[in-house]
């Protein structure tokens, strides 16, 4: 049973299509990541949901109610922007209580709620400070508390962590994840960062050039992207083009046996699943190392095999030499078919 539903949402600006027939369904309390490169239309979806922009076509329903004609301030959907936009003329407490004041909630109740929320975002004792006296991370926490204060039916997060330092970003990811666990609020986060989507959301919808190219549990999208566009975005080790004959997939890189869907025209594999110089694994294909870079826990290599460049990530401290020829092995159980 879907709680929030987007049907055939379309939006254009000056003849440029931003969104094309977007369909999305969310269950109550679900956490969805809208992932995609810059300019893919992710933020536009949030603006349409929040009522700041109107779609050219399509419908939005929240708990079966059609939202299209409802004004932004009556939607009970709160959008948290990339910048905290704390009102500079208000204190932290007044900022958090803003939405409640607009709803004419009694001052005593506002004070009580503000204290609870400050505790929740770990900023107790900062009620009287002005936004200018807070760090970037603290400001974003206050903005989050301000959004939560009105207990929205849907919380929209438009890359709220992208302007923060990596350390603060990770800490705030933890805060957001904890708040979602505790409050079970239906949440959509927009991000261009795959790791952020994986860290926060149970489901990820991938948007490229205004079209939804994948909508899957986040881990599944990462490990087995369903199509070429998704595979290129999440970063696979190789996309292998070929032909399926029975259960054998014939390609330039060799023959692969598996239970592939009929009409499979390409296979893919994650870079960490490709093995280098494993004598126990046959068949293998020779490849030459073109480049390497250290990622912290693994080395990433770019290799030339046949006419294709392949990316491999391998654990280990000692790097392989550039120019070295190695044998690559693609474990059949790690190969998956792409839809195109």
């Amino acid at each position: 049973m879907s709680y929030l539903q987007l049907d055939q949402l379309t939006k254009s600006y000056a003849k440029q299509t931003i969104l094309q027939n977007i369909n999305l369904k969310l269950k109550q309390g679900e956490f969805l990541a809208l992932l995609g490169p810059s300019g893919s239309g992710k933020s536009t979806i949030l603006k349409i949901l929040a009522g700041i922009e109107a779609p050219d076509a399509g419908e939005i329903r929240l708990a079966k109610r059609l939202l299209n004609p409802v004004a932004a301030h009556q939607r009970e959907i709160v959008l948290l922007f990339q910048q905290p936009y704390l009102f500079p003329f208000l204190s932290v407490a007044e900022n958090i209580g803003f939405g409640l004041k607009a709803r004419k909630v009694a001052k005593k109740l506002i004070d009580q709620k503000v204290a609870e929320l400050l505790d929740l975002v770990e900023l107790s004792g900062m009620q009287q400070r002005k936004p200018q006296q807070l760090s970037g991370g603290q400001q974003q926490r206050v903005a989050l508390a301000r959004a939560l204060a009105v207990q929205p039916k849907v919380l929209l997060l438009d890359e709220p962590l992208s302007s923060l330092d990596p350390e603060i970003r990770v800490s705030l990811q933890g805060v957001i994840a904890r708040l979602h666990r505790e409050l079970q609020m239906t949440t959509i986060i927009v991000t261009h960062d795959l790791s952020e989507a994986l860290a926060l959301a149970e489901r990820t919808a991938l948007l490229i050039n205004g079209s939804l190219v994948a909508d899957l549990p986040s881990i599944e999208l990462f490990e087995r992207p369903p199509n070429r566009a998704a595979a290129q975005f999440v970063g696979v080790g190789a996309i292998i083009a070929g032909q399926l004959q029975g259960t054998t997939f014939n390609s330039q890189l060799g023959q692969f046996n598996g239970n592939f869907a009929p009409n499979t025209v390409s296979l893919a594999i994650r870079p960490e699943h490709i093995q280098i110089n494993n004598p126990a694994s046959q068949p293998s294909i020779a490849a030459q190392i073109l480049e390497r870079r250290y990622l912290g826990e693994r080395w990433e290599y770019r290799l030339q095999a046949a006419e294709q460049v392949i990316t491999v990530r391998e654990a280990g401290q000692t790097p392989r030499e550039i120019g070295q020829t190695v044998d690559l092995h693609f474990p059949p159980q790690q190969l998956f078919a792409l839809a195109d």
Partner: protein, 288 residues
């Protein structure tokens, strides 16, 4: 040593400012105290001030001109500020209109006050374009049936001239405040459930208040001390303080020059008092 060097560096500008403005001010104060060497008068006294504030004829003229100046300045300033606030409220959430409004305001600012006042006179007087047009179209029996909008005893013409001239000035100040993140703050408020009126009251007004209040003080001070518009579209009675001061200063009786200077200096004191009060209010507002 560094401090001395800094002062020496400022010396050329300071000498010009102190020499020109300080000299003029000092000469003005001296004249208001009766130091008129061209009449052989070198003794200082407060006679001109006494005459202006409590003289039989000049005293009543001063108090009437003061009240009239306060009325015109306050009405024009409040009118300009309210119209500006209304305009900014109506376009604050449509950022694409900022540029158009800014361009129109800049163009309007380029028109001198005297030219604008003359234009209003030509358009709005009882022998002006509107009156003639109304008569030609049969809406008026006589052009003189057109309502008295300029050169009237309530100062409507002066107020109208200043409102139409000062609104663009205040708009530019307000737009500068809104330009950075004004629309974003309003969107946040909207998303948090604030309706249109609450967005104006709780977000737009606090954002605009510093520039609008500061700008309004400038407008008030300017109108209170300005001469050309009241001279063009005002009447001789009641008159504004600046008109009174200049008339006294240009009086063939050179003794009146001290009183003219006294009026000018009293006007300056009133403006300084208004600014001082506003400054104290701002400081109190910013006290934690």
């Amino acid at each position: 040593m560094a401090k001395l060097r800094r002062w020496l560096g400022l010396a050329p500008a300071s000498i010009i400012i102190i020499g020109l403005f300080g000299g003029s001010l000092g000469y003005g104060i001296a004249q208001s105290l009766g130091w008129l060497p061209f009449l052989g008068q070198r003794q200082l006294s407060l006679a001109a001030y006494r005459n202006v504030l409590a003289g039989e004829q000049l005293g009543s003229q001063w108090w009437q001109a003061l009240l009239f100046s306060l009325w015109v300045s306050l009405a024009a300033t409040l009118g300009s500020a309210l119209i500006c606030l209304g305009l900014l409220s109506s376009i604050a959430e449509r950022q694409q209109q900022y540029r158009g409004l800014s361009t129109i305001s800049n163009l309007h600012l380029a028109i001198p006050h005297s030219v604008w006042a003359m234009a209003l006179l030509l358009v709005l007087s009882q022998s002006g374009i509107f009156a003639r047009l109304g008569f030609a179209l049969g809406w008026l029996d006589q052009p003189s049936d057109f309502p008295v909008l300029v050169r009237d005893r309530w100062g409507s013409g002066i107020i109208l001239a200043y409102i139409t001239k000062e609104v663009p000035f205040l708009l530019l100040l307000g737009l500068a405040s809104l330009h950075q993140q004004g629309r974003d703050y309003l969107l946040v408020a909207q998303s948090l459930g604030a309706n249109r009126w609450q967005r104006v009251r709780l977000v737009l007004w606090p954002l605009l208040a510093p520039s609008l209040i500061g700008g309004s003080l400038l407008v008030f001070s300017f109108i209170f001390g300005a001469y050309e518009v009241p001279a063009l579209v005002g009447v001789r009675y009641p008159e504004m303080l600046a008109t009174m001061a200049l008339e006294l200063f240009l009086n063939p009786d050179l003794q009146a020059r001290a009183e003219g200077m006294a009026v000018s200096l009293l006007m300056s004191l009133i403006i300084l008092a208004v600014i001082g009060l506003a400054w104290r209010w701002r400081r109190a507002e910013h006290q934690p």
